[in-house]
Assembly symmetry: C2
Homo-oligomer: 511 residues x 2
Amino acid sequence: MALTDTLETSHGTVVDTLKTARIYEHAASIINYDQETICPPKGMEEQGEVQAYLANQAFRLTKDEKFVAAAEDLYAHRDELDPLDKILAVNLHRSYMKTKNISADRNLEFSRIMNQSFVDWLNAKKKADFSIFRDSLSKVREVNLEDVSLREYDEGTGPKPSTAYDALLSDYEFGVTEKDLDAAFGAYLERMTPLLKEIRTRGKKIRTDFLSIEVTDEQQKKMADYLLDLIGFDKERGAFTTTEHPFTDNIGRNDARVTTHYYPKAFLSSMFSIIHEGGHALFMQLQPEADYDHFIDNMQTMGQHESVSRFYENRIGRSEAFIHQIYPKCCEIFPQVFEGVSEKEFYEAVNVAEPSLIRTEADEFTYTFHIIIRYELEKQIVNGGLAVDDRLPGLWNDMYEKYLGVRPANDREGILQDVHWASGFGYFPTYALGNMYNAMYYNRMKQDLDIDRIISEGCFDVLNGWMKDHVFAKGNRLAPKDWIRDITGRDFTPDDFLDYLEEKYTKLYEL
Amino acid sequence: MALTDTLETSHGTVVDTLKTARIYEHAASIINYDQETICPPKGMEEQGEVQAYLANQAFRLTKDEKFVAAAEDLYAHRDELDPLDKILAVNLHRSYMKTKNISADRNLEFSRIMNQSFVDWLNAKKKADFSIFRDSLSKVREVNLEDVSLREYDEGTGPKPSTAYDALLSDYEFGVTEKDLDAAFGAYLERMTPLLKEIRTRGKKIRTDFLSIEVTDEQQKKMADYLLDLIGFDKERGAFTTTEHPFTDNIGRNDARVTTHYYPKAFLSSMFSIIHEGGHALFMQLQPEADYDHFIDNMQTMGQHESVSRFYENRIGRSEAFIHQIYPKCCEIFPQVFEGVSEKEFYEAVNVAEPSLIRTEADEFTYTFHIIIRYELEKQIVNGGLAVDDRLPGLWNDMYEKYLGVRPANDREGILQDVHWASGFGYFPTYALGNMYNAMYYNRMKQDLDIDRIISEGCFDVLNGWMKDHVFAKGNRLAPKDWIRDITGRDFTPDDFLDYLEEKYTKLYEL
């Protein structure tokens, strides 16, 4: 489509600025990655300053008058643009409306409050004492509320969210609301609470003794390399290292990084975190090249991303077919573990459902309970029904007792276990949405592919090809609800996920 | 000392700019470190662009008119400044005179040529074919000559160097000239050539069979950790990782990073590279805090740095006393190697003198021959006595035959072995100067300390304390010749080093 000269100029200005912003963001990502993996303890503070400076430079660029005018010009003429440029123009307009009343200095101030909050959280967790984190958390809430109150809305951004929590949620899962979550989580609780009780009272006993046999780091590294190769992670376009808390970073077009952590007496931990993080990386590596060229890469929401990582980790990784595929290799790499352990016993062990205190160690079945608990609290904190004070840890513990039948002994294994609140509210529920999304597209995939056969034969090129065409193709281009409708032809529902859990766990526990 | 208001303003401008430049340099360093250690192959290009952009931003800041005016104001009033600010003012003036005629764009162009040259060198080395690198090398020479021709000189910079090579050399070893090197290397050749012949014809046979026994990475990692702790490397203010070609990076005030590489059948390689790189890191970690505050940290020359790294690697690391200290730990960590190997045999084996083709694998005795060969060639290339053409590899090989009695079979193990020429000329001889400097301060240290006793008892705090007070204290503040005079009270001479080699190797080989 030929653009007018003025529009061409605007487009040029936008692209030039975004190219430079991308350089700063790339540098900030590398520094963040470095801090998570290598940076020495006493070097963190200086490096934190460098990271904040670079991230703020990127923010400043998007506040530049010429850039804003050019971006708004594109937005005004969005229907004359190439479809991907139109998406970019809408994205830029949304960001503009969101941040137009926030100066670069104020933005830097927000970052500093979040940084301090992170330090306080670390300290509080170390000492298992919520009161050390309390005031910071309260400031984070204020920053979040101030941020939200400064936003503007119009036709392009969609209507003003009806609650502050909805506004925050839209940062991570555009178009999804409290109402959606309440409905989905309500359905989950209704169907899974009785099933959990069944499992605990009548479920068959599953053997797990071999899961804590000691293995070496070298064995675990070998396994991790094998799994990454198996699922199709491209090592020429990605890196793999170790860290304390595993994550995946999309550093650049050809640089998606997976990390893991080796526990000598819990080899499953690294195995499934590798498949999980590898899933994130596949989403990054297999997104359309054109999205990168049009500056709409990395637009996938958190829920979309978690849907993919959990698809690989749980739907694929904990399936009978996958265990069948990897069992021989497991016996070869970990002989001390698999002596006398059958394939069936291994499959059952990776699927044990057991209420526990720590989300990151939770199994596929009980995981969502953890999310719901924090969601219930943070929704009230943000919207004003609950104060940030010393009663919070007790409320937290009560909910664990109510939903999971376990009670944290201290704040470290209770309310302080996860870092997320240190950088704001609204992120957490996206973890649970992921499971619900992928259950829907798994059912769609079944119409096209004999999934179990493909997995048990290790044909990940076929599986990834389908994911690329159906799931990854529009991850940057559509908001989650539209995206899931595009993939499956159906509106979002938690039912596919709940049906799956019910079927799998009823069978597994012989109920 | 109270400054006038204008001078105070100038000082403020300079400090603000340098703070920002330091942020860019920090980020560029991290990215460079990442490329050397983790960045995936296909991510290198994008990351190279990011690195070049950030480095150029730092350069641009120092070209800013306001900054230049402020820096020149400080320089004009340097005698009114605090002594460390005076050093900074002189440094800035020298940089200014050196780069005032080079625009930021031209500077970026230079970086691009060097980057391309690096790629061509890699490719040429892979294919063992100098002709692939030839034209790039020729361009590097042109860039170096253009750079040098644009420099200006005055009282503050010192006189214009008499040759282009001297100008390049001054970038790495300020104040040292071809004349100094010719004299030092001439003395080396005169005394060491006959000694090498003696060793080869009449020297006793030294046992080395156990050096190639296979060990695991885990054993080597344990040894590396032990050695870094032993010599006093501060892990809270530094990191330790692996890479293809070991190096040390000074990332920030509290972040000095050491790398190593593990070869399964050459455990000595990592051990001594760890001590070498650890030495560099100690120089960084123990430099005066005030130097950092005054932006004169990282001003140590290459020769000064190599003197320290080789001091720890060779003067300390290959001494009888050090071997006595580490021998029990070596037996414990590498039992398969040290079964039936005595402490004396180990000492002798780490000191074998054997002419070889590859500099980085050369022993303490023959190392300097490698440096002299490249120095002789590059001096002529830069000053115009030798063309960059396909005759160079042959000349290289002839010199190896003449000085060391060995002849490379191809360009990979000949002229292409080292990367340095890909980024310019004048750096290489600093490697050899290091040995000569440290021999001088070792002799000075002997007057104060019972060095052998201190080392054999592992009291590195005492040793490092002396180094900090005498060697590290003025590393950023004095040019090498002044620095060595300040430490030892004597003018630079190669004699201490040559005496040391003669004594050590005559005894070792029982000549």
